[in-house]
Symmetry: C2
DNA sequence: GATGTTAAGTTAACGCCGTTCACTTTTGTT
DNA sequence: AACAAAAGTGAACGGCGTTAACTTAACATC
């Protein structure tokens, strides 16, 4: 009947080696190096061969993104493990881990949250429980323990995500000192330091306390 | 002596028409449409001709960015005008204007704060007083008036910028409901609404008030 | 007004990109 | 050994940024 049977393991192996090559190229030379031809060269195969395993470049990149999200999740989980549940410190640690991941895996981060998305359907392959759920749970715990103001957890989590993400993307778009061209300033210049400096603002807000009726 | 003299006005006129074509293409079709060949087509000239006016594509894009920053500044100044100096409302209005600009000029925003910047030198052409200074001044005024906690103004301004920027870039990278896949949620789904929902968090912080010694 | 210099613009090409298609090689089963 | 399908190849298409050689147009000078 069937004169040749396909071995799924073998296929998966080849696919993995392609994704690996793509990942390494991305980490080494940024998104510019991530081309089908260069990936094929590194795998040791012609560019056309890649299309037997991935429908197009976008599908390949999607796989790379999936792997990056796994690594991202590791950063967050490691950070969460260092602080007790229900504490504000745990929430803070998650934020810092976000920036550590982004800093240490800049090329990954660029692709993960690429602002491109010309195609309105994307990132549907974010691991379900990945990252955000961890943050929301930390927020829920902190509210339950009484350390955090009782506000809708999703909202607080999104807020914290925005701060961390905003710091990082601003830092990637321009060197911070330049964008601010701070005279006299003394503002931290690395994303992580800056985020740490935001800590009191995040915790206590920008508004002056009301009881100052001096 | 010189058998032909160059008319600076004429040159500036042609340059302007090129930048205009580039801007329109960007607004119409996003960064993908912004190619030298398409710009040249729209101007009614060959692609090579553009290189008589701009060193390369990056230089042309830089001009487009410069124009976008001007429009951006208009949004901010208009917003600042609606609220009294020294008020927290003025600071809030600046944040909302940020998101309005980004929403109404998405293609501009994408290029303005493109995460690409493979070349580490860029955005040096941000108008000196553009945007950030306006925000910092609003913060300084609010501190002086006693409405805002007395913290280093640059730091507070960067913080507010991070929140607004973070909300927008997250929204551009993925539809918010998807990223959050909020069950039960009820979280706003547009960047502007989300930013408005953050207002109390920004003003009062996430930490539970201490006087709750019930 | 003819001349000569030079700005402005054109065409063609190079090397890159993603992608496709016709073709060849390899592979496993019968 | 024979065969059918899988796997891979090379060449090509159209698009990209950019460059180089060449043509055309404009103008100050004689």
């Amino acid at each position: 009947m069937s004169p040749r049977v396909v071995d799924p393991d073998r296929v998966a192996e080849v696919e993995a080696s392609i994704v690996e090559a793509a990942r390494d190229l991305l980490a080494e030379g940024g998104p510019a190096r991530l081309s089908m031809r260069q990936v094929a060269d590194r795998v040791g195969v012609s560019a056309a061969a890649l299309y037997r395993y991935f429908e197009n470049k976008e599908a390949l990149v999607r796989q790379v993104i999936g792997q990056a999200f796994l690594r991202f999740g590791e950063y967050l989980e490691r950070a969460a493990g260092t602080q007790p549940r229900g504490s504000l410190e745990r929430v803070q640690a998650l934020g810092e881990a976000y920036l550590e991941f982004a800093t240490e895996n800049e090329a990954y981060f660029r692709v993960l949250f690429s602002i491109q998305r010309d195609d309105p359907r994307a990132l549907e392959d974010i691991p379900e429980g990945g990252g955000f759920d961890l943050l929301r749970e930390a927020v829920e715990d902190a509210i339950e323990s009484g350390a955090m103001r009782p506000v809708q957890p999703e909202l607080v989590a999104l807020y914290l995500w925005s701060v961390a993400h905003g710091v990082m993307t601003i830092a990637l778009a321009c060197r911070i000192e330049e964008c601010v061209h701070s005279k006299a300033g003394g503002v931290p210049s690395t994303p992580l330091e800056l985020f740490r400096a935001f800590r009191t603002l995040v915790q206590d807000g920008i508004k002056a306390p009301v009881e100052e009726l001096v």
